[in-house]
Amino acid sequence: MADKPTELPEDRTGKRPRDLPPANADQPKSNLPGARSLKPHWTERLATFDRRWVFLAMAIAIVVPFFAPLNLPVKASPRVRALYYSVESLHEGDVVFLSMDFDPASTPELAPFFRAVALHLKRKGVKMVLASTWYAAPPLVERYIREMVDRPLIGPDDTDYKGPPDRAYKQNVDYVWLGFREGKEAVIAAMGNDLRATFDHRAADGTPLADIPMMEGIHQLKDFDLIITISAGFPGTKEYVQQVQSRYDLPIVAACTAVSTTDLTPYYDAGQLLGLVGGMGAVAEYESLIGKPGLGTQGADVLNFGHLVVILAIVFGNFIYFAGRRQRRKRGQ
């Protein structure tokens, strides 16, 4: 399985150092010279303490803040604003292509983005064509369509939302779900060449594309007014840029996981991507622009604490390291 985490720990046994007897446990407290130095210095003991305490700190940091949110204000960065304006400049009746390249693992970062962009597109009356190059995606996408496209996202209870309302979209009238095709970058190249043949001239539910009025005039990727890639890795945004963006000069904006953000910023910088939302923090920024805070905003709030745990772990680890280094030097090396 390619899906398994590649960074599994080397130390699988997870032995507890504190369960072991201390090195000098059976030595009588003597006044022999050097006995003191056998006792591990506090920095050594701290440096080898059970990493499962760090796990516990992280677990607390990602659960407890949900019950005591900070609700810090969010402000959009330039990359996120650029994506927002690209969508904002679309008109009613325009057709966008959404590439849904992710699996359940990346939903915490990408599902809130899809919810926000679906609301943005629907309230502007923009039509959508959805497809995926990830085999893990189809049931997920079908659920999102059922929950976020087929139904209005703004209900009567959303009193704090001030933007225009959206409506329920109709399948094969307001949106088309094409399904998934295997082949990684070859699929993307094929869609650039002939979108209809790639999806065998029919939507995922079997309706011939020729019978769908909104697909009129759409044969290739370059026929869309905007391409929005929502990608969690390979194949995804990078492959769209390589295979089709430069070749057909396509307007592409991307939402990606935090992990691939720094890989994609050079493309944003060179104008190959018109906007970029990278990670949960950026999704929160996009939600603030839409005016409908959701899971991204809630998650970013908790993310504060997760980041603090990691930063403290780094600072603490280095403090012990430097203190220990001084101690080792003092001991006479």
Partner: protein
């Protein structure tokens, strides 16, 4: 030889705008997709081939391998579209009875399943309640669209247009068919409650390991690692609301780190990787590189 022809064509297609060339390229790409899909099926078969003998020989952990094969068998079987084999299932019936009510027009709805919803003319959904329970909706006489559907994935829909005359009653009886296959009820159940949580948690584990690695491994031993750690901490602070709450300086600095030094380094890597990819691709096409074919 075959490889060389295909590769050269695929590369040359970029420069030739002719229609015929595009068509041939399209066919080549489609065949590529088919082979890529077949390779995954082959991979699945291989996993079964590797695990079956282990169970037969009762090797260590054979019970878990049995779970593996069982999972694959169940998912494979429920992934077949059984409901499309033989007669096409209907999803219910609509009958219009004239002169059945005193005033206006009525739509009478019922369903054989619990959790069924109905929409009339695309308005807010109506819950049809327990099986057999009849819901009556009074409508204006004339043309209406009725859609009866389930709240969860994996069932058919009954979507019909109906003309209800004044004084008429349209009886809509939903008998939604259970679907099998990749959009079916059981398949999506397994996907939602087994595949998805496992997939997500496997990756969520990494959050814990990264925290522990931050504590144990990230030491500012020299200038390089100090720069790495400094940049990491600044970007971490800049990416979440708390950085901005401390000072506006953090998000701006983190944006600058990403946009300038990071982009400079990344760009060097991208260009290097591109040169490498071009060189490897040329070697493959010209037949200088054959390691992917395995040794004789």
């Amino acid at each position: 030889m075959l490889g060389m022809a295909v590769g050269l064509f695929a590369a040359a297609e970029f420069y030739i705008p002719a229609h015929e060339v595009r068509i041939i390229q399209e066919h080549l790409l489609q065949w590529g997709l088919i082979l890529a899909a077949a390779a995954f099926v082959l991979g699945g078969v291989n996993i079964l081939q590797v695990n079956y003998p282990k169970i037969r020989r009762r090797e260590e952990d054979w019970g878990f391998k049995l779970v593996l094969l069982g999972g694959a068998a169940v998912m494979g079987l429920v992934g077949i579209r059984w409901h499309t084999i033989g007669e096409d299932p209907t999803n219910g019936t609509i009958a219009v009875v004239e002169h059945a009510t005193e005033s206006g027009a009525l739509i009478r709805l019922d369903s054989t399943r619990a959790d069924t919803l109905a929409k009339i003319d695309g308005k807010r959904p109506i819950d049809l309640g327990a099986p057999g329970h009849v819901t009556e909706v009074s409508v204006a006489p004339g043309h209406h669209t009725v859609k009866v559907y389930m709240n969860v994935a994996g069932y058919g829909d009954l979507a019909e247009e109906v003309d209800v005359p004044a004084g008429g009653v349209a009886a809509v009886h939903g008998d939604l068919a259970l679907h099998w296959g990749p959009s079916g009820r059981v398949y999506t159940w397994i996907y939602d409650y087994i595949f998805a949580p496992c997939n997500a948690t496997m990756f969520a584990l990494l959050a814990f390991f990264i925290a522990s690695a931050a504590f144990r491994a990230f030491r500012a031993r020299n200038t390089e690692s100090a720069l790495l750690l400094g940049a990491a901490i600044l970007v971490m602070l800049g990416a979440v609301p708390i950085g901005r709450a401390i000072s506006d300086f953090f998000p701006q600095l983190s944006d600058w780190i990403v946009a300038v030094p990071n982009n400079a380094g990344r760009r060097a890597i991208i260009m290097g990787a591109a040169l490498g990819a071009i060189a490897t691709s040329l070697r493959v096409i010209l037949g200088l590189e054959r390691s992917h074919l395995g040794s004789d």
